[in-house]
């Protein structure tokens, strides 16, 4: 999977959990999930669970703590895919 494909796949997942007042266009690589995309902590868990299914990886609590932005998520996905 190319970097762009991973990004698009992640975008699709994040889109599901965006609050109604945040547009899909607001999702950028540097977007902060909680502060900029207004995703709450419960929905951030849903995103992680969907990411696990979509990429067939398992995240740990430390990964969750580090996953602040879309870019952070992409890096964690890469790290997990390399290790698997």
């Amino acid at each position: 999977m190319t970097k762009e494909e991973k990004y698009q796949k992640l975008r699709e997942i994040v889109t599901i959990y965006l609050p109604e007042d945040v547009k899909v266009e607001a999702i950028r690589r540097e977007s902060h999930f909680i502060n900029e995309l207004n995703i709450n902590s419960a929905n951030l868990v849903d995103i992680v669970l969907d990411v696990e299914d979509a990429f067939d990886i398992t995240l740990e609590n430390e990964d969750m703590d580090q996953m602040q932005t879309v870019d952070d998520a992409l890096q964690i996905i890469d790290k997990k895919l390399e290790a698997s």
Binding site: N40, S41, A42, V45, V48, N61, M64
Partner: protein
């Protein structure tokens, strides 16, 4: 397993405690009982002259037994020391099938869907004393022991 210990850790008090007794707790779910007190204030207004337990309180009862008691148990199983709790319900999707009248005792059974990254999601069912299904649904919430950063 000490159920009293779980009840002691609940962050609720009268008049907003909706758990009397825990019957079962395990990795996969919880079961508990609560009797809606006949003389509760809210019956005076819900409804005027026709007291019925509000659906929000049935939901709350399901959440306290099914999510919070189970969540405390699961945290304890992970050897987390609990000095306090940060909790919040994040979603509820309930169907209400039968009315619950003042003085009725209900049984709540919850079944864990997952508990990950401090989010607990459960299927819950509430039964009345004759064993009929009163309400059912899916609840989720965040539950975290305080000081556990």
């Amino acid at each position: 397993m000490n159920f009293q210990d779980i009840l002691a850790n609940l962050p609720y008090a009268k008049p907003f405690l909706f758990v009397d007794e825990l019957v079962d707790l395990n990795e996969e779910g919880a079961e508990g009982l609560f009797t809606f007190r006949k003389n509760s204030d809210f019956y005076q207004g819900h409804f005027k002259g026709h007291p019925v337990t509000p659906g929000v309180l049935l939901t709350e009862c399901c959440a306290q037994i099914g999510l919070v008691c189970l969540g405390i148990y699961l945290l304890q199983q992970q050897q987390v020391f609990i000095s306090g709790l940060q909790i919040g319900m994040s979603s509820s999707e309930m169907d209400f099938l039968l009315p619950v009248y003042p003085g009725e005792r209900v049984r709540v059974i919850s079944e864990k869907s997952y508990f990950r990254f401090n989010k607990l999601k459960c299927k819950v069912k509430m039964y009345n004393e004759s064993g009929a299904l009163v309400c059912k649904g899916v609840l989720s919430g965040m539950i975290k022991a305080m000081g556990d950063e």
